[in-house]
Symmetry: C2
């Protein structure tokens, strides 16, 4: 069944399995390299890194693998900072900060696209083979620069309309993120609620409307999901949560255990951590912030405000204040080396008989 | 690929494709018979019928096919009627009634399980081969009576917990309803929000936890979805929306056209029509009732209150006041005879090459 398709050929990989570029220290160079060495495509989640951190991680990955890998960037957003909104959010966050003995209230400065532009230069300088984007489509100038440097471009879409926009922008392929997916929703056109489309419905409809290869994401944790996605019309899959619990993942151990012990009906979508909707395991932070959710500052302002809370919760191993991102298929996740996870998926696919 | 499996053997059908028992006049005897005659399993949606209407439809189906078919029943709920709650809901519904020139305000009587019990007797007397249930599991007495009469029992679940409860009750098979599904959510344990699990994630997790055959529902409108569901671990599929637009379907023509012209991101889940969450196409009724949604009477009280609105909207062809149920895969729906839809699905499956 592992015939090469346009996607695996373009990416130069053996299996159409992409490890999602989860941000926040989860995608260690060891994880990225392990996935690429096993025949999949590892992705550095550089969404929250600055240019120098991005370069440092890329150099480490190159030491660990000579296979293709990707870097995921967040297309930047620069919302206006409203002081009263920030003050109100800080008041709501105070009980969480007190519970964790945090005295630091993060400074919110005006946001710019400078850090993103510096990351783009690093990616070009380091000749990263593949660059993927979440939260929208960068400028034509940026995309052209990457194309001229022969970097493969991968967009993210949550609706057919967003898929068409990605195709029109010149992306080489698109991650179609179904509603099952863990972490942040990639929605950038229209409301996120309208764009909560299950993978089973999203893939065939998108496949009928765009001509570039599609990568299915959301709810896929094992070989059954990989093969089902190919049947639906995708040419590959992107898997996050199942690699989050892998041995090489840099996710906090509390986070890994929370996923491994979670069930499909214990998850929710919240904007409380970052100002942007994301799927994770229900906990005290989400419950307590629920009533304020509609009035919080937008991403990335709220993300800046909660950053010390998330960091300190990790240090203190207090899962109730952490962002425990997870997709809707936690029951299939295992704590294994990433390479073994890929080998298991491939074996499982070969054994499926109908 | 059409090896018999436990599901098709137990149901006595050629293809593992079940037409969903959509209530409200959609599943005409002609539709049910056309699906069964084409090798699938047609289902009469008897949720809103009384015993005599149920018998009448069954007799017509028997005239049109000698193949197995199913009847779907709603496991009854008997909420307490609170007069102030009903009066408030009627006030909120008044603008809709006025827009449609409806003077009738439906009488809400106490609800009982008598009509359901009479339906069960009809199903036994008419020797209906298969009986499926939505909104929970009937009493052991009812299930035993059906079993003694060799009627195959099919439950509905939206989480693994609900699947286990169905298996423990003695059901022969379970429809696993993913979040993509159109119409009413079948959730009966826990909150419906927690049970909005995408089909891609729901099926493999349930398949690992229960031993009876599973039927995937939600987001499946063509052969790609059927095969993907089998790959994920289901033994069959249940399809609603794609049969709603078929020629034999009794759905209002406005409803059919709304689905055929709809896109995957124009749907929402609302409790405003019936008091129970259901997925359909956004329209004025849903928008106007949004702010009251949390304070409406429970199902089936709200359903009784909106019944004249839905009926009159249908007569006047005013789609904006109708319940335009649809799953998240409307782009794949076609206006064809139901038998041709099944033949197309089977052909499509045979042509899938990876």
């Amino acid at each position: 069944m592992w015939n090469k398709n346009k996607l695996t050929e373009k990416l130069g990989i053996s299996y159409p399995i992409i490890q999602a570029g989860m941000a926040g220290g989860i995608t260690t160079p060891e994880l990225v390299a392990a996935v690429s060495n096993a025949g999949g495509l590892g992705t550095l989640g550089a969404g929250y890194l600055n240019a120098e951190q991005t370069r440092e991680s890329i150099l480490k990955i190159k030491q660990l693998t000579d296979k293709p890998f990707a870097v995921n960037l967040f297309t930047p957003e620069t919302p206006e900072v409203r002081d009263t909104e920030v003050a109100q959010a800080n008041e709501w966050l105070l009980p969480c900060r007190e519970a964790l003995n945090i005295s630091e209230v993060p400074k919110v400065k005006e946001y710019s696209t400078a850090a993103f532009e510096q990351q783009i230069q690093v990616i070009i300088e380091e000749q990263v083979p593949i660059c993927s984007f979440t939260f929208g489509i960068p400028s034509q100038e940026t995309l052209q620069q990457l194309k001229e440097n022969h970097i493969v471009l991968m967009g993210t879409a949550t609706t057919v309309t967003e898929a068409k926009a990605n195709e029109a922008s010149g992306m080489d392929m698109i991650v179609m993120q179904g509603s099952e997916a863990g972490g942040h929703r990639g929605t950038f056109l229209g409301s996120f609620e309208d764009a909560m489309i299950g993978t089973m419905a999203l893939i065939p409809q998108a496949a009928d409307q765009v001509n570039i290869p599609l990568i299915a994401a959301g709810g896929i944790s094992d070989g059954r999901g990989v093969l089902a996605a190919l049947v639906l019309g995708a040419q590959g899959v992107q898997i996050g949560t199942a690699f989050l619990t892998s041995l090489e993942s840099g996710a906090n151990e509390q986070h890994k255990q929370a996923v491994l012990n979670s069930k499909e009906d214990q998850l929710t979508v919240t904007s409380a951590f970052s100002g942007k909707p994301a799927r994770g395991i229900q906990n005290d932070f989400i419950t307590k912030m629920k009533e304020y959710e509609m009035h919080l500052p937008p991403y990335p302002i709220q993300n800046t405000l909660t950053q010390p809370i998330r960091r300190e919760a990790g240090k203190q191993s207090q899962a109730k204040w952490m962002s425990l991102w997870s997709g809707q298929n936690p029951r299939s996740c295992k704590q294994l080396p990433a390479g073994e996870l890929i080998a298991e998926m491939v074996t499982q696919i070969d054994q499926i008989s109908l």
